[in-house]
């Protein structure tokens, strides 16, 4: 075949594909006409954060199935209950992927509401699309305060069902000051006033920088005897931390405060103890409280600590215990495994969406937004301030009671398991300085 002919065939094929794809991208009808509530779920189904993305999507599915099994969402303006239909928006763990997914969900799938969002960097990139189209968005990730506190665009349709970096940074620093520092001082006979040396290894992203700033701000604001001796950034998706850890080790910290995604924390922990022979405590933050972390980190996770708000293996005693156990059991039945913290937050977000739409009595976006602003529903699995899920009037953030877990080896599973060690009202046992631990300086 001559080259001109090949070109003609290629051109014709492109035209056919274009026509077909135009047919495929017709706008979907709104909920009132289609007899269902369409919720777009923004999850990183592919790319660096895909493990967490799967957790988000499956938990959203579980919540929607439960609600649909009970008849769906009651909409007064329609005079009936309608089922939820979830539509997946894969942000591909990238800013561009997130923008593409959100645009499609809003303009083509015509969703009534958005739920999900994980990485702060990814969410910050598609916030302008949500603001422009005024679609209610319950964000269960994107913990950086720079995402929720921004004033360069209208965030009034965005509701943040997660603690921000200031909240989790504060909880972590208070735990270090109240528990770790005295325990290390007692074990090694250090003076009470000895400054505790912390190295921060953080993802070079709004999430990582937000946590770093929060830690430094809390230490400064409260004049705590904690010294940040190293600030080491790394690129999102990094899997080789040996040199960064060698550099940090040379600064003799008493503890590493790590701000990572799940796929980064596993190699960081393993390489610290196994390759760099760095026998220090690593404190991680809540987004890593996931079964895949415990499975991946193995024996090297023993003794490590993590700030959390939902743990698959450490259920706090009290008012949220029944709901949490039920959720974990249902998730296990449906998917054969345990959900992580991001899954739990997204599961709750679907129920928050249901509550808001029922309160609004319509899927009209402005009215759903108002209902979310005035929401006050009982806490579900995560322990909320005052026992109620509600969004703050300033930045529309829900407020959590956070806790800290410590890992110890479980011989039966061959994996480490967490137990709550802080605060006192939730603790299952006291914090233990591991035998292998070596402080930074004498």
């Amino acid at each position: 075949m001559k080259r001109e002919n090949i070109f003609s065939v290629f051109l014709a094929a492109c035209l056919v594909l274009l026509v077909l794809s135009t047919g495929c991208t017709d706008q979907q009808p709104p909920a009132a006409q289609s007899g269902e509530v369409k919720i777009g779920v923004i999850a990183s189904m592919t790319g660096a954060a895909s493990t967490t993305g799967k957790d988000i999507w499956q938990s959203a599915e579980l919540a929607a199935d439960e609600i649909n099994a009970k008849g769906g969402i009651k909409i007064n303006s329609l005079g009936k209950s309608v089922p939820i239909r979830l539509i997946q928006g894969d942000d591909e763990s990238t800013r561009e992927g997130g923008m593409k997914a959100v645009s499609k969900l809003i303009t083509q799938d015509n969703v009534d509401l958005l739920v999900g969002g994980y990485s702060s960097a990814v969410v910050s990139a598609h916030q302008s699309i949500v603001a422009e189209n005024k679609v209610p968005y319950i964000i269960s990730g994107a913990s950086s305060s720079s995402v929720s506190h921004r004033n360069d665009l209208d965030t009034s349709y965005m509701f943040f069902h997660r603690p921000n970096t200031d909240d989790s940074g504060e909880a972590s620093v208070l735990f270090i000051e109240e528990v770790v520092r005295p325990a290390v001082n007692a074990k090694f006979g250090f003076a009470a006033e000895r400054p505790f040396r912390v190295a921060v290894i953080y993802q070079d992203s709004p999430f990582g920088k937000g946590q770093l700033d929060a830690v430094k701000n809390v230490i400064k604001a409260r004049s705590l005897p904690i010294e940040v001796v190293a600030e080491e950034p790394f690129k999102m998706g990094e899997s080789d931390f040996r040199t960064v850890l060698t550099s940090v080790k040379a600064k003799n910290p008493d503890m590493i405060y790590s701000v990572t995604f799940l796929n980064e924390l596993v190699p960081l922990t393993q390489q610290a103890r196994r390759d760099v022979n760095f026998n220090t405590l690593i404190m991680a933050i809540e987004n890593n409280d996931d079964p895949d972390y415990y499975k991946g980190v193995g024996t090297y996770g023993e003794g490590m600590v993590m700030e959390s708000r939902f743990s698959p293996y450490a259920v706090p005693k009290g008012s949220t215990e029944v709901a949490t156990t039920q959720f974990l059991s249902n998730f296990d039945k449906k998917y054969g495994g345990f959900a992580g913290m991001m899954g739990a937050a997204t599961y709750e977000s679907i129920y928050i969406a249901k509550e808001a739409i029922e309160k609004a009595g319509t899927v009209e976006k402005a009215k759903v937004k108002d209902a979310l602003s005035n929401l006050a529903m009982p806490q579900m699995m995560e322990i909320m301030k005052g026992g109620t899920i509600q969004f703050s009037p300033d930045f529309r953030e829900s407020k959590f009671d956070l806790y800290v877990v410590q890992l110890s080896m479980d011989q039966a599973s061959g994996e480490p398991r967490p137990e709550i060690i802080w605060p006192e009202n939730l603790e299952a046992r006291a914090f233990v300085v591991p035998d292998w631990y070596t402080p930074g300086t004498s």
Binding site: T51, E238, F241, T243, V244, S247, A250, N263, D275
Partner: protein, 293 residues
């Protein structure tokens, strides 16, 4: 910070280890470019495939992962031969744009195929030697990394003898030097293309095995960044030059790690490419590239 000789040696050692992975990847890429003059952006996917083949064989056989090189490298050689035969041979000589689009398409095909088979969760495996360290002077070196360095050296020596001493190796070198001349001398250059592509993929597969054995995590999308670095290395070392790929790989490994040590981890990629730009400004053909007439 207490910067001592032992700490600097440790960083140099991490650089040497990273360099070994890069060398294997870039040597394969350079071999392919030298013979076929094609740009295969999907080369990093062979590394990714190498990690998964190793992982799969490790799970089903439980053999020592280093022994699994015997399995992963041949599988990747066959994969390389198939890719050359089905994807690159039909478009050889039709322009660089076709090569680029074919290789970009291959990236998506390989990534999705692996995600379909093994899911796209991050995975890692544990070497039986992962808890053993060797004291070398003031530095504690994990045994796995020493083995990786030795294995890389053995592979390079074998490749050297293959290219210098065997008839097929000589035919590969002849085709690389002068394709038309090689054809006139009766060398079946299409067969050589196929074989070279297979060997290149096999070297990337070996890099994948060593990546997995070293305890680094992997998922179906992990091949792109090493591939970009592989290209930077062959440009740095000189297109088509195997010594250039070795020196370039080591240089990038060292620069990356010393940059992470001094400036922080988020700078390591940037500094590698700054080095590349400097070399290209000073010597546009790369460190070992030959000047064109």
């Amino acid at each position: 910070m207490d910067v001592s000789i032992s700490i600097l040696s440790q960083v140099a050692f991490w650089g040497l280890y990273s360099g070994c992975i890069y060398i294997l990847l870039a040597t394969g890429l350079n071999l392919i470019f030298g013979v076929m003059k094609i740009v295969n952006f999907a080369h990093g996917e062979f590394l990714m495939l190498g990690t998964y083949i190793t992982f799969f064989l490790f799970v089903i056989t439980g053999f020592n992962p280093y022994v699994l090189l015997i399995g992963s490298v041949p599988v990747l050689i066959v994969a390389g031969v198939i890719v050359e035969r089905l994807c690159f041979r039909p478009i050889l000589g039709t322009g660089k744009l076709n090569e680029i689009f074919i290789s970009l398409g291959l990236i998506y095909i390989f990534q999705n195929m692996v995600a379909l088979i093994w899911t796209d969760e991050w995975r890692s495996m544990k070497s039986p030697f992962s808890d053993i360290t060797i004291a070398l002077g003031p530095v504690q070196l994990p045994l796995d990394y020493l083995i990786i360095i030795v294995v890389t050296a053995v592979i390079l020596v074998l490749l050297h003898f293959f290219l210098k001493r065997t008839p097929i190796g000589k035919a590969i070198r002849a085709t690389s030097q002068n394709r038309k001349g090689a054809m006139l001398m009766g060398i079946n250059v299409e067969k050589i293309n196929m074989l070279t592509f297979g060997i290149g993929a096999g070297l990337a597969g070996a890099a994948g095995t060593l990546w997995a054995v070293s305890g680094q995590v992997f998922n179906p999308y992990m091949g792109s960044i090493p591939a970009i670095k592989g290209f930077a290395i062959i440009i740095l070392g000189g297109l088509g030059s195997i010594p250039g790929a070795i020196v370039g790989g080591l240089a990038i490994g060292m620069v990356e790690n010393f940059t992470a040590f001094t400036l922080g981890g988020s700078w390591k990629d940037a500094v590698s490419f700054i080095l590349l730009i400097i070399i290209l400004v000073v010597k546009p053909t790369g460190l070992f590239g030959e000047d064109e007439e």
